[in-house]
Symmetry: C5
Subunit: 372 residues, 5 copies
């Protein structure tokens, strides 16, 4: 057992502490009126950015706003408006958005509280989807999560992210270049495309994590075991963290597919069914790696047992060979007056021959027992 904290250990502790942090954040919300939008989580961007794409099969409009009020005129048209807001700390903006889009106070609270479990809420005039975008930061070997909230209305989609920069640029390109059917579909299809992008990214995450787990396996087979247990536990927790974020997605999508979900057309529901299968594939991949980790833990413990066996085998072989030899040397070290063997000329030579024969016999026996 090393007594210093290095590498994984520190990260280990950091994660554990981050669990506590996740609950500490809640304290600032204490005693607040439910439905008050308060940023729970750290502010990740200096100023909230508003970006709009308004499109129909024949038309495309794109602009950046400094105030959400500027988006209002786009809502009266039949074209699809995708308004993306990066940064959640501007409570005025949030309240304004709440007024313009008739959002329930709880919706605003859910969006700004970045510790939400993924969930789906159906309100009278919109659907709220909350989920996590997960990225693996290879430098500090930590999964970074960013909350994505989607408000799906009849003619618009509102997306909230914690900070600028996302994986949706290919989607934007598809809208701009009229690739695929995205321009001719409503906001439900756009929501599907965004969900699909997020869930696809889970595979990249799992691939990165999986590469490191497989590296661990190679190390274990090669006999390295430095802080192996901490590493295995570390990845176990990371996987369990991912599963906690993927698990509610299945229910979320099933809920969207239900026949009575009005804002989603039957056409898009077929796509969402496909998404459901994709989520099950993510499950499978997590399962595979969790089973792998469990196996590696067994290998690790067997390695420890085998090492013990090996050490004790060395001890036994040396003891079993030399303890009798020492005894025989002791015999001829006794001072008995009458000890005839001592006085023959070849005694010493014969003694050595006898000792070497004993050693060879022992080695032979050990070889037969496959100890050597």
């Amino acid at each position: 057992m090393k007594k210093t904290l290095k590498g994984y250990d520190r990260q280990n502790l950091k994660r554990a502490r981050s669990i506590a942090r996740f609950m500490k954040k809640r304290i600032i919300n204490k005693g607040e009126v439910p439905g008050t939008p308060i940023l729970v989580g750290e502010q990740k961007v200096a100023q909230c950015l508003i970006h709009l794409i308004d499109f129909s099969p024949t038309m495309l409009d794109e602009c950046k706003f400094s105030s959400i009020a500027e988006a209002k005129p786009y809502l009266d048209t039949w074209s699809v408006s995708w308004i993306n807001i990066d940064g959640l700390h501007d409570m005025d903006l949030m309240n304004q958005a709440g007024d313009i889009f008739h959002l329930h106070p709880l919706t605003l609270e859910d969006i700004t509280n970045t510790d939400q479990r993924p969930k789906m809420e159906e309100y009278d005039n919109y659907i709220l989807l909350i989920l996590k975008m997960l990225v693996y930061n290879k430098q500090n070997r930590q999964i970074e999560a960013e909350q994505l909230s989607l408000v799906i209305g009849e003619h618009y989609i509102l997306s909230f992210q914690e900070k600028p920069g996302d994986d949706f640029d290919p989607v934007r390109t598809r809208i701009r270049k009229q690739k695929g059917r995205i321009r001719s579909q409503g906001p439900d299809y756009l929501a599907y495309v965004l969900l699909d992008t997020v869930i696809d990214n889970y595979f990249y995450l799992l691939e990165d994590l999986g590469d490191e787990i497989e590296e661990l396996e190679t190390e274990l087979i090669e006999g390295k075991s430095d802080e192996m247990l901490h590493k295995l536990n570390y990845y176990k927790r990371e996987l369990s963290y991912i599963r906690k974020n993927v698990h509610p997605l299945k229910d979320m999508v099933s809920h969207l597919i239900r026949p009575d979900t009005e804002l989603v057309t039957d056409d898009v529901k077929i796509y969402l069914k496909d998404l459901e299968d994709l989520i099950l594939q993510v499950y499978d991949a997590i399962d595979v790696y969790q089973e792998l980790l469990t196996d590696l833990l067994t290998v690790y413990h067997t390695n420890i047992s085998n090492k013990l066996n090996e050490i004790i085998k060395v001890l036994t072989i040396f003891s079993v060979i030399f303890i009798p030899l020492t005894f025989f040397a002791g015999i001829y070290g006794t001072n008995f007056d009458y000890l005839p063997e001592l006085h023959y000329k070849y005694s010493y030579l014969l003694f050595w021959i006898f000792l070497i024969s004993v050693v060879l016999l022992m080695l032979h026996i050990f070889k037969k027992k496959k100890w050597l």
Copy 2:
């Protein structure tokens, strides 16, 4: 194995005994007519305190009573009356309350029996909610539970607590200062706010507990292991105790949300749905810490194995080095008449050189095997 009981051990036993105590309490109830209100549990306050807040959007009335009968006039009005009773030992008061609010005998029995599992019962004219307020007492490292019973009628809410002092003061302040929508809503919303406060407090509890578990992790990684097993088991039981009290809450809230629950308006059901998500988050947090404890147990056992390996390694290194040396010394301690090596001038010097070479060779081998 220490043979004295100290620190955690004693607490350990205390908790275990407290399980037995929990069942001993039932004995006083033995053979009683069901539906007889009897205080099951210890009396925690000298005199029962009755406190009323009566409010409507435009009006607020607050007073303390010595008899529940004084609350009667407030029941006929359309304003919301919140009557809070601290202390459950006054059976006259209980029976009087039962008469005034038309409570079922079983309701009174459930309220005064403080060993109830959290539960929800729907009667003709009111809903009974029973749950636990949990606080972590850092001094004696024990979770303290207090039972909260809520009777939700059409225009009133009755709350029963075991002793004065609670976490509801921010709620009272919100009523007094007309913050949020609480003044314009009915008793169902007030009940939601109280539930929300209780469940929010579970996070503080888990945070405190989590801090101590993470401390354990740091100790384990640093190699300390004093009574570690008892500590790990202790926290495992505490978490399991919390889960037992949180588990039925999910069903309770789901039941309240059902379309056929009449005393809860659709408006409040949206808030309760949000509460359901909060309970799932509590689940997740308990899960995280239970997984952490399981991992720590593995680390603990691996530490024991590693310590054994280390001890045996020391034994083996010393034995493997000195047992052959002793044999060689024994050889030249024999009394053979003809033992030529003994008589050369540099024999003794060569003997030492030989011995030291053997030692160096062994050390080299051990180093190569990474035993040193």
Copy 3:
């Protein structure tokens, strides 16, 4: 490992054998026509006793019969008749009861077969409830089970027990003294009261068992481990036996509460709902003790590991100290002609000083490693 069977071991075997016995009993039933009442189990009383309490809110009649036929006149009245039969071996009596109360042949077979799982059967004109009364016999540390069968008709209740003596005397007193609502209610309420009494007794049983399990914990912490494994396994089986008998009760009561169960009034269903919660509390208590036993098993195995570590530590300390010393003594026991150290005057003294320094150095190192 002791090689004799004492104390727990013998009981252990007895229980195991009692499992086999439970199945051997079935053999006497082999090839019998289904629906033939045959006593499966041992006859526990010399003569069957029949006891009747007939009551209405205004009237009370109590008598003992030698023949079930004497009960017939009480069946035609609207008053509630509780006929209790102790002893199941009189097949004539059983058949007669079957005729008088129009019982299905399978009902008679179920009542006389005392190896039934708890169950509830609804027939056209009555409900059959079968459950176990469990008592902990502290002398031989064994749970004793007695089967209780209740036949609930419209105006009567038939109860069958294996032997005289039960925990229902307080119920009888309540009927006689008109305490509570029992006199003004029907046989369904009486059945509820009897069920409540039986289930309440499970808590006493668990308390007794729990006391002994907690004693085991104290012993384990104090380092005692005599036949500990057998004791832990023993209690594990006892708890598992209780759970097997409690498990079907939840379904039984749920079934009674269903809206379409006709012989139970809505009024009594509220009480049965309360009973359902009580059963869940029994579950919780069993769970708590089972988790405790699992933890104790871990403690036990860790104790064994720790003991091994301690033993090997002693071996290592002695070996590491004395093996080098013996080597040094061996050096000066050699018979080299030229061995200068042997001839100085203070050699022997210096030799001892050297040896003692080595010992002190070793002890210092061990102390630093916390081995001492």
Copy 4:
């Protein structure tokens, strides 16, 4: 570890191989048209035997046929015809039976494929039940399975067995002697009686198996552990094999009880409900023995640990006593010129007294540590 295969080991392997064999049998069916009756399994009887019992409350007819066609006239009557066929290899007979009783091709395939899981299929004019008769062969300690297929029509029952000899003779006697209600009931009641007989036999099987498992327990407590692990694994597999065959029975019987199962009268459904409870009792018995085996496995592993501790204790006691003694002897074997103790008259005596004191002190310490 023994390196020869004896007793249990060989049986162990045989069972494992029998799993493979079970799948090898399927190969002969490869590429066959589904619905073709082919004997999958070994032919267990030289010639198929056909036996008929035709009965009504007032009439009884019994005869043996060489061709199934002879049974035809009995089908037109309203009496109940029970046709039992021993041996499944005569495909002509099977096809003829299929024609006469209008059996679906899949039914014939299912009957002749003796690797079926227990199952129930409802066809237009008959119900097919397939289950296993299990017998414990005490000689070779193996469970022997024989497939029983029941075709329940409106006025007939067809039963197929792999070989002659069964446990149904008491049933036949009851038909002949008009015991019970069997003569006055239809084929559904007869099917119930046959099912009841088969399931009752599972108890005998479990009793036999249980006796041997309890024997293992006694051996383990007495410290014997010859090939214990293989024995425990062996019985674990046997129990798991039984459970696989009992598990689908619950569903089968539940299916028969359903209100829309037409060929079973309500009267018989009451009996089948009783059978359902019996199956649950079989479950419980399997559970009890599986828990017992798990406990025994723990005992076995603890025995190994304890043995290791005991061995190492012996090693430690001897080493700790004799290594210091040898050192002291070594001291006085040195050849220092000036070693005053050597020259006193009582030195040797005092030396022995010193050595013996050391031994006694050590023994005292070991006794206090409870190592002796």
Copy 5:
């Protein structure tokens, strides 16, 4: 612990890497419009092959096409057309097929993405079934999977495979030779036959795997344990891989059996029910082998423990015998002036007799303790 990677280890790593590869494949799909058919997976055949069998009870036509357009005329007839396509890389062909058979874009994507979980999708005019054909490659001990996609229309069946060569030749023969009912049934029956063939093959796969697992068992019982842990883990993963591919089949077939699945006739549903039982049998077989592997893992770990015990026993026996002997030799090697035993004539002889007696006594004790 071996430090080189050989045999299983390398395969082990290869499989693990193949998990990662499975996800790497997804990357090429990144940001693509959903519903675009792209070959996800490796191209396994140079040119796509199209093969058609068109049949009715009275007619049979068979031909190979180079373009899917040539199949068009066959679709207008009422005869059943089975069009099989080997190779999925020709996207023009895929799109053409999509046009001709009116396939949904997602269907095409699903068919060409060979990482699909088995699934069933019902579209307006066809049913899509995707499943895996699994073959065990005994050379490199790896399961090879090939995706089979079936599109079942009203009068046609489209089957897509990754490469030529399959197990459907017996089916083709049955069509050609008019064996069984296949010629007189629709495409739903043909689909059933194909499914039946695929699932039947799982038994062959399991048989092959099972043979190797049983070989492992034999090796373990014989004491061999070379890389046993890696082998056990390897087969565990293979079985888990099979289960992942079999698991969704149960749902798939249940879905096909549902009364509202229109393209499948009631007649064929009876056959599919039989298929459901077959899938359950596959489950059972996987279970059996997984339990076997778990048992083998226990045996493996017990072997390690037993080996340790054996080694330490040898160490203890030698130490316990020779350490006291060495001490006694040491005694008579001391140089006390007055040591009377040294001077008797038979001292040396008596000394040897004493030593041998000690040895014999020890051996006797060890024999009694069953250590020898």
